[in-house]
């Protein structure tokens, strides 16, 4: 009379994920059952369609960008490890374990940086803005908003925002508090 879940997710794997991401044992098992419930194809990986089946995510203006954050460059499937690694960015960082590998601002930067070249160009900013506002704001006004934002952030004059410039703009915002999710137990 063993336990079904652990035959699919081995204890060693749970330990590895725990070390890598900092989630607790029970959080990992619960997130695993969430992962399997989303995995309609039952093949151990999630596709973009699996994410889009979540109605609250489908109506999120940045839904597609958020889903993209889970998939490594050029891939269409994400396994449980990858799933957990992305979610780990949203754990609140306790003071005694400031893990520089996972941070909310990096994910936020990736949301804007569509082609992953470590720079937010004017076009990329415009595209993301367009996603968030839909048809409700004119091209001109959106353009001027984008210009102003880049102007404020750009310190080295290359007309785009690098990661460091991005961080500087967000200095005053408590990123950890606003990006992190309060996982229970």
């Amino acid at each position: 009379m063993g336990s079904r879940a652990s035959t699919l997710l081995r204890e060693e794997e749970i330990e590895e994920i725990k070390k890598e991401t900092g989630f607790s044992h029970s959080q990992i098992t619960r997130l695993y059952s969430r992962f399997t419930s989303l995995d309609k194809g039952e093949n151990g990986t999630l596709s973009r369609e699996d994410f889009q089946r979540i109605p609250e995510l489908a109506i999120n203006p940045l839904g597609d960008r958020i889903i993209n954050a889970f998939f490594p460059e050029g891939e269409d499937q994400v396994n449980f490890r990858g799933f957990m690694r992305t979610l780990a960015h949203f754990r609140p960082i306790e003071d005694n374990e400031k893990n520089k590998n996972y941070s909310g601002d990096f994910i936020a930067f990736r949301l804007y940086d569509l082609d992953r070249d470590d720079k937010i160009s004017r076009d990329e900013l415009l595209q993301v803005l367009r996603m968030m506002v839909g048809v409700n704001i004119s091209d001109e006004q959106l353009g001027s908003i984008a210009d102003r934002t880049i102007q404020e952030a750009d310190t080295n004059g290359d007309n785009s925002i690098s990661f460091n410039e991005f961080i500087k703009v967000l200095e005053k915002v408590d990123v950890e508090q606003k990006m992190s999710i309060r996982f229970l137990h």
Partner: protein
């Protein structure tokens, strides 16, 4: 003499179970079974809890995995923007605005209100069925023995018994209603029809070891009204029809189901539609109206959610039944998941495998509350009326009241909801002259696309 064995077996069933079911009294066998079952499950729960003292109890299964911040878009974006002064002109946007959406998005990936309604409810403590064993580990020899015994009892004793009963019940329904259908229309015919229906449903209920508790029977639906209830499984019909007679609404099927439907409609009027007719909203509304206006006909039974949900919440009620102008009798049905999971996950299990699962559960325990009749009020449209009835049912059954459409089980969510979110956010960027901006967008688009 195998033939003799079969005859004895049959007589045993008939006398012990069917006759009480037919005449509405009870010999107390089911009650004894339920009491023993309760004691065993309690004992199992205690044993499991004692062994899991160092592991967090699954009592937190009913709590969420994350704690959501339920602030509105305005509130949360306001907080995000607090750190910088509002720019004088040209739209209030800042790079940190995306945090709101990304956090909400990740929260919905970890846990959302909708997709969990289409799978079975998680149990607080294991109920000794293989199918609910997700996460529970080996505890003790005794527990395993009881579990093994349970399998034997359920599959080798209860299941065949229940299957026989169900078959007898359904055949009797077909034969009985067809027979009654031969009579000319009269008071006697209606009375006989009702008696045949209730009797068959009672036999079917015994076929599922159903223990049903009806509350507030003074509110029972009356003729000329529409009874609405939350929907968990096709067994809801058996549950409700054990106590009262209803006219069913639905599509005519082929096969066995069709035989059943055609037989039932001979003895008393039900509202069956051909597949093509169901698409015609006006036709559907008219036929329902005609039925309701005829005060000799039975109250109609409708499940406005339109699909089976897992009995932890009530999802959007389709407004069709609420536009007819009839008296609405709300009914709340709540199953106790400890004894067996009643939810029919139609995307995962076919009807047949579902019924077999039902027959190998411990039992089916549920509460039915009849709620006071409701009418559409002045100035209230069908959607508002539907929502009002829905919250009453949700409140009584202890279910969560959701605005989401049960059709999301299979269909995609409408784009308009995303557009609403975008509109809301836009108004926070440019203030309320978003409408003039929209005209600008269309004007430029039309210029470029003559």
């Amino acid at each position: 003499w195998p033939f003799l064995d079969l005859v004895v077996w049959l007589y045993l069933i008939i006398s012990l179970i069917m006759i009480p079911a037919m005449f509405g009294f009870s010999l107390g066998i089911s009650e004894t079974y339920m009491t023993i079952l309760m004691k065993i499950l309690e004992w199992a729960t205690v044993k499991i809890q004692k062994a899991n003292l160092d592991v967090e109890l699954k009592a937190s299964a009913s709590n969420g995995l994350i704690q959501r911040e339920d602030g509105s878009m305005e509130k949360e974006l306001g907080e995000l923007r607090r750190s910088r002064p509002k720019p004088p002109v040209g739209g209030d946007f800042t790079l940190s605005d995306c945090f709101y959406f990304s956090r909400k998005g990740i929260e919905s990936i970890v846990e959302d209100e909708v997709t969990q309604r289409f799978t079975s409810e998680e149990l607080v403590s294991w109920n000794l069925l293989t199918r609910t064993n997700n996460d529970f580990q080996y505890i003790s020899v005794k527990l395993t023995l009881v579990y093994g015994l349970g399998i034997f009892v359920r599959y080798c004793i209860l299941a065949p018994l229940r299957l026989t009963l169900a078959l007898i019940g359904l055949s009797w329904l077909v034969i009985g209603t067809s027979t009654v259908g031969l009579l000319p229309n009269s008071r006697i015919k209606s009375w006989l029809s009702e008696w045949v229906h209730v009797m068959c449903y009672r036999i079917c209920a015994r076929g599922l070891s159903a223990a049903i508790c009806y509350h507030n029977r003074e509110n029972k639906p009356k003729k000329g009204g529409i009874c609405v209830a939350n929907h968990t499984s096709p067994i809801d019909i058996v549950i409700l029809c054990n106590d009262s007679c209803y006219a069913m609404v639905g599509q005519i099927h082929g096969g066995l189901m069709g035989i059943l439907q055609r037989a039932m409609v001979r003895s008393c009027p039900h509202v069956w539609f051909e597949r093509a007719e169901m698409k015609d909203r006006h036709l559907v509304t008219k036929r329902l109206k005609d039925h309701v206006n005829d005060k000799t006909k039975l109250p109609i039974l409708i499940f406005p959610e339109g699909t089976c949900v897992n009995n932890t919440s009530v999802m959007m009620f389709k407004k069709g039944s609420f536009e007819i102008g009839a008296t609405i009798y709300p009914v709340a049905i709540k199953y106790d998941p400890k004894f067996g999971d009643a939810f029919w996950n139609s995307s995962k299990y076919s009807m047949v495998s579902y019924l077999l699962r039902m027959m190998t559960s411990w039992a089916l325990v549920c509460n039915v509350w009849y709620l006071p009749a409701m009418h559409q009020q002045e100035g209230e449209d069908a959607v508002q009326f539907a929502n009002r009835v829905k919250s009453v049912i949700a409140h009584q059954g202890g279910l969560i009241d959701l605005q989401w459409d049960g059709g999301l089980k299979r269909a995609k969510v409408k784009e308009t909801f995303k557009e609403q979110q975008q509109k809301k956010y836009s108004s926070m960027v440019v203030g309320d002259d978003s409408s003039s901006n929209r005209h600008e967008v269309w004007r430029v688009w039309h210029l470029n696309n003559p």
